[in-house]
Amino acid sequence: MRFLARRLLFYAAAAWAAVTLNFALPRLMPGNPAAILVARFRGRLNPASERALEVMFGLHPHASLPAQYVQYLGEVLHGRLGTSVAFFPLPVSAVIAQALPWTLFLVGLATVVSFALGTALGVLAAWRRGSLLDAVAPTVSTLLSAFPYFWLAMVLLYILAFRMGLFPTMHAYNSPPTWSLHSLLDVLDHAALPAGTIVISSVGGWLLGMRNNLIAVLAEDYMAMARAKGLSEWRTVLAYATRNAILPSFTSFALSIGFVVGGALLTEVVFSYPGLGYTLFQAVEGEDYPLMEAIFLIIALSVLLANLLSDMLYAWLDPRVRQTEG
């Protein structure tokens, strides 16, 4: 219990720090959102409109900085995230609500698949050291990770979607999704290539990590003891060795899950897939402080939450951790 309480306190403090930094950083950036909007429309907006836009955006707050900070804290606690500037006059929550589900779906799915696949292959590669799989898998997957993601995605898009027509070339769906089977298959069809490219370029990291951990664990004394006692190969590797070896990977996995809400900007750009990554990019481009703050806040809090959960999970899986902390 004390363990839990101490962790919670730590995370509360970290959350407060994240919220405060989140408030301070955008205000240190130069520029004026109204001016950027005028520049963005390269000549189509009347120069006089910039004044009108500044009025619209409420760009000249009369409150002092500390007063703004207190107001900001209050609004965050109430879930009122403000009005977007880049997507004026939509509220920030509406902009995020349109993009967040797609990000959770695509990047969440890709991260989980990548972790599962990478870990499974890593286990196999470590278990069958010296086999063909062990020779090929780490090298190939690291090579794929080393390619710039953007390039890899565009090449696969060009070959598999444009030329061969095997996958849709862009977007998340053909018609707005419903809960019918047809619609779900459509969504999966559109997600296949974007998620696939993320998996291809990130599986190498999980694979190598798991393989190396498992090799170290397999050399431990208690593994020899288990084999001597007559346990089957399969059971010793999966139930004993992997369970110990996977613990470090879980921490990384938890952090990755936390960052899922940051979206995958490059994926969203290449495949014109709706998601928070591109929304964040547009917010930064348009100096949309309310939207930026809201997205950064979501990322920070979800990483903290994921970290907290992974701490709990780690403590549950590994009794040694509970004992040292308590």
């Binding site: 520049a39 444009f162 897939y273």
Partner: protein, 559 residues
């Protein structure tokens, strides 16, 4: 061991089988759905700028509305100004008359209905204009700096009173203001924050559906100018121009506005006569010199810059030859504004590329080259910075060519790539020496660009915000000419004012135009025909010009 291998093999086979089956199903399903939904009258597929997923905002006065990001086939203005041909046509108004220099009277069209069936009357026009007065944040054209009052005279008459005589306001008021229905907007609590999710307009198309990925319009069967021939318009959303251009080259879009390098070879030539690219000049792109900074305050120095830069190279290498170089420094957009150009000025101030002449001009003005590429002038040594928005690759390339050419005549220049926000702030505040930028799009005559660039009302001292006259040009003569054009009713007088302004542009070089900004447009005739062409330029070709897009839509019909 054997058990594991067998298990893995079976698992792999099952998974692969399931994936294939699911994928095959998904491949077939959406295609049939799309085919079934296509109505008669054809479908127009449009490729807008990659602004990312659509957000539901159809308020025509908001800067981010869906109309500004794609096209507006729903709302209409009072009058259509055909910028390509120097003519104008009645639209929602059938006639207008200057009763006296400060009173403008419109006669409205009878028989126009809103898309919800209610009749269009003067009450709607008056309401729209007064709403802009009540909510200045919506008045993006700044109408109420000139308007005094607006009222209806009968159900089809509108009288507009100005504070002072001003002719150019007609373009903004009648040509660039969407008229919205009073019966819908009067009950909106705050139109500044309203997203107008179900737009009701007088235009030829109605909003049919909207999602993050696609906006669909269907034709309005009760449109006052006859039912449009094309039944449906689809506007998908894009986040990246690469994928979009890839599809465009394959011929997926009927109407697009991309910048495709090597467009002749990639898009036009392989199409065997069905793909067209026409991106005519509509603005000026070039250098803004900060006239308060030495040595850019010296007109001779600016002239040297004009001679030093090879504009043809900027056009060919920086803009892929798709934005022609300006032939002279009068600032007139050719060919559309040809009739306003002072031919003798154009011939005299062509500033043909000549590094020798540039060097001679510098020497005569007292600038001497020193060791190591330095330059010293009457008030000290010269070193210029050229700011350019790093996110616009064509302008970055242009800036590199400019810097190279200036160094070749002995002017040391450093190019600075800055972000959009920093650039905009710097030019507005005057914290720059040379800036690579563009003017607004043209209006019905060269006055509109001249006004934004030369009018001292739009500038400010360094450290304060200049609206559009970033170079800080102040000239009583220019202000007088601009004002005279705006207040006179004689077209001969207006022409002589324009000639005077062109002379100022050409001799004093307040800005140094290099190439024309293009109105990007590509279209194909495989499904839909009736597009404007250079030979039949009945409207500006890009979907982003309003209400030209409506004019084009009404000319289109399925093949």
């Amino acid at each position: 061991m054997h058990g594991l291998r067998r298990f893995l093999r079976r698992l792999g086979a099952t998974l692969a089988g399931a994936a294939l089956a699911g994928w095959a199903l998904a491949l077939t399903a959406p295609a049939t759905a799309a085919a079934a939904a296509l109505p008669s009258g054809g479908n127009l597929l449009i490729a807008p700028n990659p602004y990312g997923p659509w957000q539901a905002n159809f308020n025509p006065f908001n800067p981010n509305n869906m109309f500004a990001q794609a096209l507006d086939p729903v709302y209409e203005p009072l009058w259509y100004f055909d910028l390509a041909n120097n003519r104008s046509y009645p639209w929602l108004a059938t006639a207008y008359r200057w009763q006296n220099p400060t009173t403008l009277v419109f006669a409205l069209r009878h028989g126009v209905t809103w898309s919800d069936g209610k009749p269009f009357t003067s009450a709607d026009v008056v309401f729209t204009l007064n709403m802009l007065h009540r909510y200045p944040a919506l008045d993006t054209n700044g109408l109420w700096t000139f308007l005094q009052s607006v009222h209806a005279s009968g159900p089809y008459g509108v009288t507009v009173t100005l504070q002072k005589p001003n002719r150019p306001v007609l373009w903004y008021l009648a040509g660039q203001t969407p008229i919205v229905p009073q019966h819908l907007w009067v009950s909106v609590k705050n139109p500044v924050l309203w997203t107008d999710p179900h737009p009701v307009g007088t235009g030829p198309y109605l909003l049919s559906s909207q999602s993050a990925e696609s906006i669909v319009y269907v034709r309005n069967p009760h449109y006052w100018n006859g039912m449009p021939a094309v039944g449906r318009i689809s506007v998908p959303a894009f986040s990246d121009f690469n994928a979009e251009n890839g599809q465009e080259i394959q011929g997926k879009f009927d109407w697009a506005q991309a910048f495709i390098p090597n467009i002749e070879r990639l898009y036009v030539a392989p199409s065997r006569g069905t793909h067209f690219s026409w991106s005519p000049p509509v603005s000026l792109v070039g250098l803004y010199p900060n006239l308060t900074a030495y040595p850019l305050s010296d007109p001779a120095f600016r002239q040297a810059i004009a001679y030093a830069v090879d504009r043809a190279a900027v056009s060919r290498l920086g803009e892929d030859g798709q934005e022609p170089p300006v032939p002279n420094m009068t600032g007139v957009i050719l060919p559309f504004e040809q009739s306003y150009e002072d031919q003798s000025l154009a011939a005299q101030y062509a500033y043909a590329y000549s590094p020798a002449r540039a060097r001679a001009t510098l020497r005569r003005a007292g600038y001497h080259a020193g060791p190591g590429g330095t330059l010293t002038g009457p008030h000290g040594s010269v070193h210029l910075t050229l700011q350019v928005i790093g996110a616009y690759p064509d302008w970055v390339q242009d800036a590199a060519i400019v810097a190279q050419d200036l160094r070749a005549v002995g002017i040391p220049v450093t190019v600075q790539d800055v972000s959009v926000g920093s650039y905009q702030q710097n030019v507005e505040q005057g914290h720059f020496q040379l800036a690579m930028g563009g003017t607004n799009n043209m209006g019905p005559s060269p006055w509109y660009i001249f006004n934004s660039v030369l009018n001292s009302a739009f500038t400010a001292p360094v450290g304060q915000t200049a609206i559009s006259n970033y170079e800080r040009f102040r000239s009583a003569q220019a202000d007088a000419l601009l004002k005279d054009y705006a207040t006179t009713s004689s077209s001969a007088k207006q022409k002589s004012d324009l000639y005077g302004l062109e002379r100022i542009m050409a001799t004093q070089l307040p800005i140094i135009p290099l190439v024309y900004g293009a109105d990007w447009a590509q279209y194909q005739t495989t499904q839909v025909v009736g597009w404007p062409t250079p030979q039949d330029a009945y409207a500006l070709p890009s979907m982003y010009n309003w209400p030209d897009d409506i004019v084009i839509l009404m000319h289109l019909h399925p093949r």
